[in-house]
Subunit: 145 residues, 2 copies
DNA sequence: ATGACATTGAAAATCATTTTCAATAGACAG
DNA sequence: CTGTCTATTGAAAATGATTTTCAATGTCAT
């Protein structure tokens, strides 16, 4: 199935119009192997469609975040970058060297959650798990040097 | 042991001077039951020392973050709030209603990490885990209504 | 094709954070 | 305790990211 088209359909179902700039933005996000910030995305989109405005990028990101199609990714210096949203027990694994970001199928951490609920009296309803490291390519480069 | 004094000592050991504004900022952070952003912290500090400047708050936060005494906490809308740093296998548990933030002793997730390394070829060297929910007080309030 | 209205890009406005700067105050040597 | 060196201070200005405003344009249901 075509994820780009799926996202555009979802936008349309939620009262948005499908425009050329949005097509480019969605396609770029869907195909990116790493998390991007607004400016990264803007630069990439400009290659496909030079006239596009940074404002449109911000506005589209806002819509996609509302629909839970994209999600922020955390880094040491903040979390202004976004990526295709994780679903179910998926979580992000981020290469701290090149930024490549992949999703991995994580454990079910509900036993941990139940234990924390018991310890603290909190009622836990969401969690955030992310791993950082070096991707195979960056490991190799580091070993060669 | 007095955590505030410990933090001030660490600042001093790292070439910083211990000043009245810093004392107030450190004390406020150490004693806060919830994560704070720069402005929250500024407002709290002003109650103890009206003349304090927002710039000083930013500068002190920078130093404390360098020394790993404080750490950013993630929320849906970003991660501009900070809290006493987690150590070892500790992680944050954040009340989404009142903001109260506590540390819990988490599982050792190294089995998961090793499994992910096997699946992906990444070399994982850091992780980030956070739980969100409602603290006992906020659960109670919700139940009463 | 038409009309209603969401969307666009440019410019201006806003907001958080950082830099600049002259005055002040902490730490240390004597 | 005094003086010196230099880190730190708060105010103002500068920066950088994000949001708002606005008139023109493009999308889509009819």
């Amino acid at each position: 199935m075509d994820t780009t088209q799926h996202w555009l359909d979802l936008l349309q179902e939620n009262g948005c119009r499908v425009t050329a700039p949005r097509r480019v933005i969605v396609e770029t996000l869907v195909n990116s192997p790493r998390a991007l910030d607004a400016l990264d995305l803007f630069d990439l989109c400009r290659q496909a469609q030079p006239g596009i405005g940074l404002v449109t990028v911000y506005r589209t990101l806002e819509k996609l975040e509302e629909l839970d199609l994209i999600q922020r990714v955390h880094r040491e210096d903040g979390c202004h970058i976004v990526m295709k949203a994780a679903v179910g027990h998926q979580h992000y694994l981020v290469c701290t060297s090149c930024g490549r970001t992949t999703l991995f199928e994580g454990d079910d951490i509900s036993p941990l959650i139940r234990s924390v609920e018991g310890q603290t009296g909190f009622r836990v309803d969401d969690h955030w798990l992310q791993l950082f490291g070096r991707c195979p390519d960056c490991c190799e480069k580091a070993d060669v040097q």
